[in-house]
């Protein structure tokens, strides 16, 4: 495929994609290769805050669990929240964007005012409120992140849809007798989706950061994620104890994953958006 041909030429995007694929595979096989007893506070074998050693490569946390194991396991929740929240946000955003641009008039006016409302709302505060009102769990977290990140997608999709709707072939399609579903399905979505896809990869990175932020603020469920690791490291006094091995692994992983998604997203954008291609 031509997109892949061009994407291959972008080294940054390729490295990012390789890292993401490796991490996703690792997270999927994690339950099969990891002894889950090591994750339980009760059955943990190490002593609290052990520095890195031959037995625990990245040391232990305040309950004696292996940091390496926790970081490895934490990727599951971080990635799941990242992907699920993105899916939610992209679905809502695409729907709102396409519908508002296609129908125009008061439909567009209402939808765009709602979008603007969510756009100006401080995302962190909204998410915090949602987490406080709804039961604390991973799914609430996903809902909170998804609800705050869709407006940008909606704006982007709306702009792109408007550009496509202005093309004469849409007029021709209507003159041929095509209804709303036909015009959207046959002409609008195929030309909007590639950009949505590129945008999606960027949203994933943002969602993972949001998850870590909320978890660090103690607003996540009991699952082990990179954000909650940082939260516990902070609250258990690991920072003052100088236990750098507790803080660094989850922090570096967050940076690496978000960087990878950004690299892939930027690369896809350059490949798929003809306007950006000309400048290179």
């Amino acid at each position: 495929m031509q997109v892949w041909q061009e994407f291959r030429g972008n080294t940054g995007g390729l490295v990012g994609a390789a890292f993401i694929v490796a991490l996703v595979v690792a997270s999927l096989v994690a339950p099969l290769v990891v002894d889950q007893a090591g994750l339980d506070v009760v059955t943990a074998t190490g002593s609290p805050l052990e520095p890195p050693s031959g037995r625990f490569w990245l040391g232990t946390d305040e309950s004696g669990r292996s940091i390496l194991l926790l970081t490895f396991w934490g990727a599951r929740v971080s990635l799941l929240v990242g992907f699920a929240a993105t899916l939610l946000s992209v679905l809502v955003g695409t729907l709102v964007g396409v519908v508002s641009a296609h129908f125009g008039g008061w439909v567009s006016a209402v939808l765009m005012r709602v979008t603007d409302f969510f756009l100006v709302l401080p995302a962190l505060v909204l998410a915090a409120v949602l987490m406080a009102v709804l039961p604390k769990s991973m799914w609430t977290l996903i809902l909170a992140i998804g609800a705050t990140s869709w407006p940008t997608t909606a704006r982007l999709v709306r702009a792109q849809t408007l550009a496509v709707e202005g093309r004469p072939y849409i007029e021709r399609s209507k003159a041929l007798g095509g209804g709303h579903a036909h015009v959207i399905g046959k002409h609008v979505l195929p030309s909007v989706l590639p950009l949505v896809f590129a945008n999606t990869t960027l949203v994933v990175g943002g969602s993972i950061i949001a998850e870590s932020t909320l978890a660090f603020l103690g607003m996540a469920g009991p699952e082990i994620s990179w954000g909650s690791m940082l939260d516990r490291a902070n609250s258990s006094g690991a920072v003052t104890a100088g236990a750098w091995w507790y803080l660094l692994p989850p922090g570096v992983m967050i940076v690496l994953v978000v960087l990878s998604f950004t690299l892939v997203g930027r690369a896809l954008e350059t490949v798929l958006n003809p306007r950006l291609k000309g400048d290179r």
Partner: protein, 567 residues
């Protein structure tokens, strides 16, 4: 040195573009000369290299171009000029009126400032107006001039606006506040800002209406006569050249295939290509071109309309109003009565903004009328979605620009099959698509099925659009400027196709155009639209040869006459 060198001399000019697909020889062995106060027209269709010739004069070509041969400006080779000298020459000795005035102006700057830009850059305000040859380019580098004062610049801008017949107050306007013709005048004023001695006009009137075009041509002609400027005029429209230029050179595939005095070239074209160009702009009133667009395929015998044929499409007191930004109502269509009979070709003529496209959209049911009625086959136009869909099978649309009327991601097959799929027509889809392509004279149809729009030529794309309409077996085609964006040689073929479709399928057509020659070429009846109203409707011969309404007369008067004797 016995006589001064000519203002511009091209000697064996060749331009080659390097591209991924190999070298493209855009211009080959072109020799041209132009003297002070002379007018030289360069004609040719897109891709003939005429704009490349213009760009090579001021070395405005992209980096991928290699120039061979010589471009001598006042005997000085442009290729040998140093950067500073070239900058001084640009605009102060030779200036360009670019095509597409809509896009060549900066939308966020006032007109006055844009006209003043070259004056400030070159600092050439003080020169004697009487002697344009003295002021520019004396010291070589523009930086060497003393900057003109604000008052001087303002005075010069006012003077330039007066020269192009614009009121001085327009200097405070932004480009979007001006009409197309006014923008084109601003472009000319900009080109004149530094009193150049050579003016290169690249398709300066292509996007303009006939009436405005006539004004701009008059203006250019007057400037040449008054100020002794050398004018190089580039266009695809031979009739425009005939009325502005004394000499014409016709380019085809990068070479000058014919050149000579304008009268001779137009009256007795020697080269095949010149004939095609000349045929694309028929003289209204010439019986040879009546029902005979320039085409190579045989045309059907045309007997003229059958006055007894049933009325297929009719509009009665049709009105469409829009609201502008301030909330005021703007009537786009103001009480139109129009009939299209079975098997009849009606031309709807008018300048841009006259409401012809809105009328067409309303007839197609794409725009809801404010009041009045549209009837098809005696039945009023339905309003429900499903009934409208059925109606759309009968009345089909052909758009102006075929390159944007086709989805670039869809193959020819998908584009043509789109209509039948929407309507769920029974029968073999492939058979239907092939038949439609054959009817649109794309043969062999099988070869075109998997192609994408960008692999087709302009004429082929327009045929695909027509095939897409034919696949629904309509009885009326509404064609909005069907040949306006096509090359001269293709124009006749598409118009011939419309005539043949009418003869073979009895297809009626409403052709919207600004081109009176097109109406003369194919239409039975013509309706002239002006400010939302039909001011004159009748048989082509009657309306175009014995116009009753003043507006029709002014349209006909604005047609460039093929005589250059008065210049």
């Amino acid at each position: 040195m016995t006589s001064p060198p000519p203002l511009l001399e091209l000697r064996n000019l060749g331009v080659t573009y390097r591209s991924a697909a190999g070298d493209v020889h855009a211009v080959r062995g072109v020799d041209l000369t132009l003297d002070k106060g002379e007018t030289l027209g360069i004609a040719g269709e897109s891709g003939s290299g005429k704009s490349t010739v213009a760009a090579s004069v001021l070395r405005l070509l992209p980096k991928s171009a290699t120039v061979t041969g010589e471009v001598l400006l006042d005997g000085e080779n442009v290729a040998d000029m140093r950067w500073g000298r070239l900058r001084a020459v640009r605009w102060s000795e030779a200036a360009v009126v670019f095509q597409g005035a809509m896009h060549a102006l900066n939308p966020v700057q006032r007109i006055g400032r844009q006209i003043a830009e070259p004056i400030r850059l070159h600092g050439t305000v003080a020169g004697d107006a009487a002697d344009p040859s003295e002021a520019p380019g004396e010291s070589g580098a523009p930086a060497g001039h003393t900057a003109p004062s604000e008052a001087e610049v303002d005075a010069r801008v006012r003077e330039l606006l007066a020269q192009v017949d614009l009121p001085p107050s327009k200097a405070r306007s932004y480009p979007h506040e001006l009409s197309g013709g006014q923008k084109q005048r601003v472009m000319i004023a900009m080109a004149l800002a530094c009193r150049p001695r050579l003016l290169i006009a690249d398709e300066p009137t292509t996007a303009l209406d006939v009436v405005v075009q006539a004004q701009v041509l008059d203006l250019l002609g007057g400037l040449v006569a008054e100020q002794g400027i050398g004018l190089m005029f580039i266009t695809h429209d031979l009739s425009v050249l005939a009325s502005t230029c004394r000499r014409i050179a016709v380019m085809y595939r990068g070479e000058v295939v014919e050149s000579g005095a304008a009268k001779d070239v137009i009256a007795a074209p020697g080269h095949e290509h010149t004939k095609a160009l000349a045929g694309a702009f028929p003289t209204v009133g010439d019986p040879l071109s009546r029902y005979a667009p320039a085409t190579t395929a045989p045309l059907p015998e045309t007997t003229g309309p059958d006055p007894e044929a049933p009325v297929l499409l009719s509009a009665r007191d049709l009105r469409v109003h829009f609201r502008d930004r301030t909330g005021a109502t703007v009537p786009a269509v103001a009480g139109v009565d129009l009939d299209v009979r079975a098997g009849e070709i009606v031309a709807l003529v008018g300048q841009s903004g006259s409401g012809k496209t809105t009328l067409a959209r309303t007839l197609l049911g794409l725009q809801r009328p404010t009041s009045g009625s549209v009837r098809h086959d005696g039945e009023p136009l339905p309003t429900s979605t499903s009934a409208l869909r059925a109606y759309r099978r009968r009345v089909q649309l052909v758009l102006q620009d075929p390159s944007s009327a086709l989805n670039p991601r869809h193959t020819v097959y998908e584009s043509v099959a789109e209509g039948p799929r929407i309507h769920g027509l029974d029968g073999d889809e492939r058979e239907r698509v092939v038949a439609a392509l054959e009817a649109a004279e794309l043969r062999p149809a099988e070869d075109f099925l998997p192609r994408l729009p960008h692999e087709l030529s302009g004429g082929q794309r327009q045929r695909v659009v027509i095939a897409g309409a034919l696949a629904l077996e309509p009885d009326v085609l509404v064609a909005d400027e069907p040949v306006a964006s096509l090359d001269a040689s293709v124009r006749g073929e598409i118009l011939g196709l419309l005539l043949r479709l009418r003869a073979r399928l009895g297809l009626a057509a409403l052709v919207i155009t600004h081109d009176l020659g097109l109406a003369w070429n194919i239409a039975d009846r013509v309706a002239v639209m002006y400010r939302g109203e039909l001011v004159e409707v009748g048989d082509v011969e009657q309306v175009l040869l014995r116009p009753q309404h003043d507006y029709t007369r002014s349209l006909l008067d604005a047609l460039p006459a093929a005589t250059a004797d008065d210049r």
